[in-house]
């Protein structure tokens, strides 16, 4: 792949996540009954960071969990190699909670669909909202995000990489061109 551009640096990324945290509180009229669930891999640190920001503003730390959607994917037979199956760690009762699903990039919408199925199998949340750092378009399902850090119109040959310190050692959003 060929590097094309840095779309967000560390400062812009942090600012975007803080804005999302404020929007979550505003839309839900506070932090009560809110929980953040990150989709493996990079959704997990995003959920953790949003939880920390909300705690900073509201004095209440919303619970956060980790969701693996591999067993819910609709393309398991299409994948040449086996996807890694990780443990789901949602240690709170989802029933009646307002869950904010967190992920790095919203693309086709299939991951979000799988995540909805996985979450609903755990109970009946009062609401499920969706937060992403980047919405790059190209939806294959009627799904949209409630909170978006940055909308990035892309071509199908481009790849958006959200890099997070917890996983990648750096904080940035980069645009790459597939070879």
């Amino acid at each position: 792949m060929t590097f094309k551009a840095t779309l967000m640096g560390e400062v812009e990324l942090e600012r975007a996540l803080k804005r999302i945290a404020h929007e979550v509180v505003e839309r839900n009229k506070g932090a009560e009954r809110i929980a953040l669930v990150g989709i493996h891999t990079r959704g997990v640190p995003i959920a953790e960071r949003l939880s920390a920001y909300i705690a900073e503003y509201e004095g209440v730390t919303p619970p956060f969990g980790k969701l693996d959607i591999t067993l819910y994917r609709d393309d398991l037979t299409e994948i040449a190699l086996q996807p890694i199956v990780r443990k789901t760690e949602v240690d709170f009762d989802v029933h009646g909670m307002r869950i904010v699903l967190c992920d790095d990039v919203l693309f086709t919408g299939r991951t979000a669909r799988a995540a909805l199925d996985a979450l609903i199998d755990m109970g009946r949340p009062a609401a499920i909202q969706y937060a992403v750092v980047v919405d790059r378009g190209h939806r294959e399902l009627p799904i949209r995000a409630d909170y978006v850090g940055k909308n990035v119109p892309t071509s199908s040959s481009e790849v958006v990489q959200v890099k997070l310190a917890e996983v990648d050692g750096v904080n940035a959003v980069e645009l790459w061109e597939r070879a």
Binding site: I39, H40, T41, R42, G43, D68, T70, L71, Y72, R73, D75, L76, T77, E78, I79, A80, L81, Q82, P83, I84, V85, R86, K87, T88, D103, D104, V105, L106, F107, T108, R110, T111, D117, A118, D121, M122, G123, V162
Partner: protein, 340 residues
């Protein structure tokens, strides 16, 4: 985000599970890590995921079975696979149809994976040559019963922990001591298997797997039922006296006396067997502190194991049955998902 996370090093692609010859220690450790995730699915309110939706699993049992067959069916259905069953006693085999023709017939039902149990050693290997579907050996003669060995290994890791750790991100419960070899989780551990070793496919598969994962195995039983050549396998010792075999063991496994497979009188008498080889609380006190008692079932009470011991706190016999489901879920998933 779309795009699957894949790690070919941690996630091997195997077509069949016939025995462990083609499976590396890393493959097995990765599979056991995956079983951890599957176990978690079984604790949820809805104990089912759609991972194998659209796949058809057929159970071909040419021999009686209760727990293995039910366990595989539960494992397949917990992942939304369709399951069709076949029992030799009520099939056209009784009318003279050959094994190959029976398979050809069932193959027309779009089967993706066969779970095969057969009294003849090697039958699943032969079936694997005749079909494009995946084959899981659920016990063939006295040769192999790999999923039993996997669930036994999983049970041991759960109970006494591991000296090693799972590889890659998959599974979370198997990270062990710092610096330990993740591919040798049983390093420094000893499994003692007692009883009818010669007729036991469970013993053979456990020997193969436990030593592959770095452990040592002690075998004990009447000389007529413990062929001396087992002692030539690296990491395996044949020990004549029960007390000596159990001393210092981390896990002790009793085996069923398979009298239906004994063509000649291989035992002087049942009472003599009980006197010399029955596992009792007194004998188990010689094992390591916290050592566990295992049995693949079906258990003949007060023959292989004293009832009080079988029902006591050391016994993990029921855990073995419970652990069979997530382990078999992991096996089915590993063989069916992804393109080879």
């Amino acid at each position: 985000m779309t795009g699957a996370t894949t790690d070919p090093a941690a996630l091997p692609r195997h077509r069949h599970l016939l025995d462990f010859a083609a499976w590396s220690a890393a493959d097995v450790v990765a599979l056991l890590g995956r079983a951890d995730v599957m176990a978690q699915v079984l604790t949820r309110t809805i104990k089912k995921v759609p991972a194998l939706q659209g796949f058809t699993v057929a159970t071909l049992f040419f021999e009686d079975s209760t727990r293995t067959r039910l366990s595989f069916e539960r494992a397949a259905r917990a992942q939304s696979a369709d399951v069709i069953g076949f029992a030799a006693g009520s099939s056209s085999l009784k009318k003279g149809e050959s094994l190959r023709d029976t398979l050809r017939t069932v193959d027309q039902l779009q089967v993706d994976l066969y779970v095969v149990r057969h009294p003849a050693g090697g039958a699943p290997y032969q079936l694997a040559r005749w079909t494009d579907a995946a084959i899981v050996n659920a016990g063939d003669g006295r040769r192999a019963h790999p999923t039993q060995a996997l669930l036994d290994a999983y049970t041991m890791l759960k109970r006494f922990g591991a000296s090693g750790g799972g590889k890659g991100a998959e599974g979370t419960g198997r990270r062990g001591a710092e610096g330990a070899d993740p591919e040798r989780p049983f390093a420094g551990k000893r499994l003692t298997i007692v009883g009818d070793i010669d007729h036991s496919r469970v013993a053979r598969s456990n020997i193969e797997l436990f030593t592959k994962l770095g452990g040592e195995v002690a075998l004990c039983g009447p000389a007529t039922l413990v062929p001396a050549e087992f002692g030539e396998v690296p990491g395996v010792h044949v020990v004549a006296r029960l007390e000596e075999a159990v001393e210092g063991a981390h896990a002790v496994m009793g085996l069923r006396l398979q009298q239906e497979r004994m063509s000649a009188g291989l035992l002087p008498s049942l009472s003599e067997y009980v006197a010399r080889y029955q596992l009792t609380e007194k004998v188990m006190r010689l094992a390591c502190e916290g050592a566990i008692l295992m049995h693949p079932g079906p258990l003949i009470r007060d023959v292989e194991i004293d009832s009080a011991l079988a029902d006591g706190p050391r016994s993990v016999i029921e855990e073995q049955v419970a652990n069979g489901v997530p382990v078999r879920m992991a096996v089915l998933y590993t063989l069916l998902v992804g393109k080879g």
